[in-house]
Amino acid sequence: MFDIKFNSLSEALLMQSQNGQNHGIYVWSVVLIVTLCISISFVFYKYKIKEISKKIK
C-alpha cells in the first residue's frame, strides 16, 4: 500500500496514465493553483494585520 507509484521524478511530473495520456500537467497545475491561492491569502492577511497594527500604534 505504501510504495510510491512513480519510479522517477520525471515520471511523477508527467503522470502517464494507462491509456497513454499524460495527466501530469493537469494535476500539477491544480496543485500549483491551490498552493498559490492559499499561500497568497495567508501572506495577504498577515500583511494586512501588520499594516493596520502599525496604523493604530
Binding site: 496514465s17 491551490v34 495567508f42 493604530i56
Partner: protein, 228 residues
C-alpha cells in the same frame, strides 16, 4: 481572542502537516484509477475545496442568524471575514473542477448541475462582499449583510434542487461522469486526510481574517491598542 491566538500555530502546523501528508499520499502512493487514469488525483485538491466552500456558507448563515437574533457583534465580523475566504475556496473548486474536466470529459466546462450551482455560489459570495463594502456605516452594512446571507441560505438548497432538476433533462450524459466512481478505501483515507487538513488551513485563514476584522472595527477600543 488571546486563547485563539495561542492555539493558532498548533492548528496551523498540524493541519499543514496533515494536508501535505495526505496530498503526498494521494498524489504518489495511491494506485492509478482504472477509468480516469492519473488525472483522478485532482480529487484530493478538488473535493476539500468544494466541501469547504459550501460549509463556509452554512457557517456564515448560522453566524448571521446569531447576529440578527442576539446582536452579537463578533458573529457579524465572522460573516464578513468568511466571505472572501469562501469566495476563494469556491474559486479553487471551480478552477480545479474545470481543469479536471479537460482530461475526463474532454471539455473544461459543462452545464452540469453541480458546476452551475457552484458558480452561482461564487457569484453570491462576491455579491456579499461588494454589498458590505459599499456602505460606510458599519451597522447598516452588518444588518444588510446578515439579511442577505440568510435569504441566500434559504435559496441555496432551492438553487441546488432546481439546477439538478434542470440538467437531468438537458445533459443526461454528463451527470454520470460527474458522479464519482465507487471509491476504493485506499483512495478514501488520503481523501479524508486532505479534507481535514484543508479544513484546518481554512480555519487558520478564517482566524487571521477575523482578527483583521476585529482590529479594523474595534480600533478605538483600548484593549485593541494594548494588543497591537
Amino acid at each position: 481572542m488571546f486563547q485563539v491566538n495561542r492555539a493558532y500555530p498548533y492548528i496551523f502546523y498540524l493541519s499543514l502537516a496533515i494536508y501535505l501528508f495526505s496530498l503526498f499520499w494521494g498524489l504518489f502512493l495511491t494506485p492509478e484509477d482504472f477509468v480516469q487514469g492519473n488525472s483522478y488525483r485532482i480529487i484530493y485538491l478538488h473535493v476539500p475545496a468544494s466541501f469547504i466552500s459550501q460549509s463556509l456558507y452554512l457557517a456564515m448563515a448560522i453566524a448571521s442568524a446569531v447576529y440578527l437574533i442576539w446582536k452579537v457583534k463578533l458573529s457579524v465580523y465572522l460573516v464578513r471575514s468568511i466571505a472572501p475566504i469562501g469566495a476563494m475556496t469556491t474559486f479553487i473548486a471551480l478552477i480545479s473542477g474545470s481543469i479536471w474536466g479537460i482530461p475526463t470529459w474532454g471539455t473544461w466546462w459543462v452545464w452540469d448541475a453541480r458546476i452551475v450551482s457552484t458558480l452561482i455560489l461564487f457569484i453570491m459570495y462576491l455579491g456579499l462582499i461588494s454589498l458590505h463594502d459599499s456602505f460606510n456605516n458599519y451597522e447598516k452594512a452588518d444588518k444588510f449583510l446578515s439579511i442577505l446571507v440568510l435569504v441566500g441560505s434559504v435559496n441555496i438548497p432551492i438553487i441546488k434542487m432546481s439546477v439538478e432538476w434542470w440538467s437531468t433533462l438537458h445533459q443526461p450524459a454528463s451527470i454520470t461522469l460527474s458522479e464519482k466512481p465507487a471509491i476504493d478505501l485506499v483512495m478514501l483515507y488520503p481523501l479524508f486526510g486532505s479534507i481535514i487538513g484543508f479544513t484546518g488551513l481554512i480555519a487558520c485563514l478564517v482566524i487571521l481574517s477575523s482578527k483583521l476584522q476585529i482590529i479594523k472595527r474595534e480600533k478605538n477600543k483600548s484593549w485593541v491598542k494594548d494588543y497591537v
